[in-house]
Amino acid sequence: MMHTIFWSDEHLNAFIDDELDLADRNNLLEAIEKDTSLRHRLCETQGVKRLLQHAYSDLNSHPAQTAKRRWKRGYTQSLMAASFLLLIGASSGWLLSLTEQHHAGSVSPRLTRLISTISNDNVAQEPDKVIVQVSSANPVRLQAALDETENLLVAYRKNNRPLQMEILANGSGLNLMMTGATPFEHRIEQMKARFPNLLLFACQQTMQEMEARGIPVHLIPNTQIAGSALEEISRRVREGWDYVRT
């Protein structure tokens, strides 16, 4: 007999905030795939969270940028309306990334598996390929993303195995690749100089959104631009890349 679980708003919030235990999280991920209205509720709630983060994101961190902003008064209202929907839309991408992770297993075991397989197979053939998505401006997460990326690159090099790696930044994570905003510019440049097999991508959609808000986007040199994070990730996953979201 089938039991339908009722997912309360508290459950959905806990899911979004990464407060659900593993069993509930997996159950909810299964339910999301079958239940459109549940998916919609989750995306809307996540959209509100993103909006709130966005509204206070540059309160103190980029005073110069705030001062330089110039607004075309004619379209700010419509921009506001569109931005709300855009952020809700972006939340669909967030949800897709979660469900993809769910099918592929959790993030850490995947990295662990990748590292563990290197030493077991020294025959270099097709390179392994990993794309790491960074969508948070939290410096702790940014640092974790760089640490994990570097660990993997070092491990592959040490074992003489080929690896192609990309870091894709979107949403608030774009800060990671912005000159003047990222606390890791020097480190990223060092990593790029040390590992030519590491490529950086910035989400064009996020860049356009920021520029529309009057925030100039200056990327770290040699950062490439991807049309949208969701498209790039979908393409890479279809091509067989491993996908890691931090």
Binding site: D17, G47, L52, W71, M80, A81, F84, G89
Partner: protein, 186 residues
């Protein structure tokens, strides 16, 4: 030389206090929507933190400890304003004071609308949703900071996000209707 400089002569924890200052300000501003008040609350929090740093038993809890001090400063601010009412009773009902900070005209309408929506939430909801979303504290940490049960954190957070969703969708709809520019964004 300001008072914080004097306190900081001890040298210890300087960097931690410096790093956390903008985060305290951001949350204080999201609670008060008043730049001057947010600066005062941040200043007061840092002074109390520096004075009482020896009471911090677990250095790992530095952030949540300081935010709990901010919460106390915020409560004290209301006590000064309203001596006869209990702040705990007000937590679910008191809206923001609605004062507009200087210079906000340069910000986007979206940012202003979101901040206004946050400010219109009852204090208790506002505190929980900003600590979870802006500072990414765990529910348990928020419960400790605000000295409330985790269940209350969850219910306040849920109500806060529902309220924000309704408010922001109303704004988005009315903005689209006023200007006729709104189209579906996929």
């Amino acid at each position: 030389m300001n008072i914080i400089t004097l306190f900081r002569r001890s040298g210890a924890h300087d960097e931690q206090f410096e790093l956390i200052r903008p985060r305290l300000f951001r949350v204080a501003y999201s609670w008060s929507r008043n730049r001057e008040l947010a600066e005062d609350l941040t200043q007061e929090t840092l002074i109390r933190g520096l004075k009482n740093i020896k009471q911090l038993q677990d250095p790992e809890k530095f952030d949540s400890w300081l935010f709990s001090i901010l919460h106390n400063c915020w409560r004290d601010h209301f006590r000064k304003l309203v001596n006869t009412e209990d702040i705990d009773d007000m937590a679910d009902s008191l809206p923001a004071d609605g004062r507009t900070p200087e210079g906000e005209h340069t910000l986007s309408q979206l940012v202003l609308q979101v901040r206004a929506a946050v400010a219109s939430l009852p204090v208790g909801q506002r505190q929980v949703v900003t600590l979870v979303d802006l500072e990414e504290f765990s529910y348990m940490d928020v419960a400790r900071i605000l000295d409330i049960p985790v269940g209350t954190v969850m219910s306040r957070l849920s109500r806060a996000r529902q309220n924000l969703q309704v408010l922001l969708q109303e704004h988005a709809t009315s903005a689209g209707q006023q200007h006729g520019y709104l189209r579906r964004v996929k």
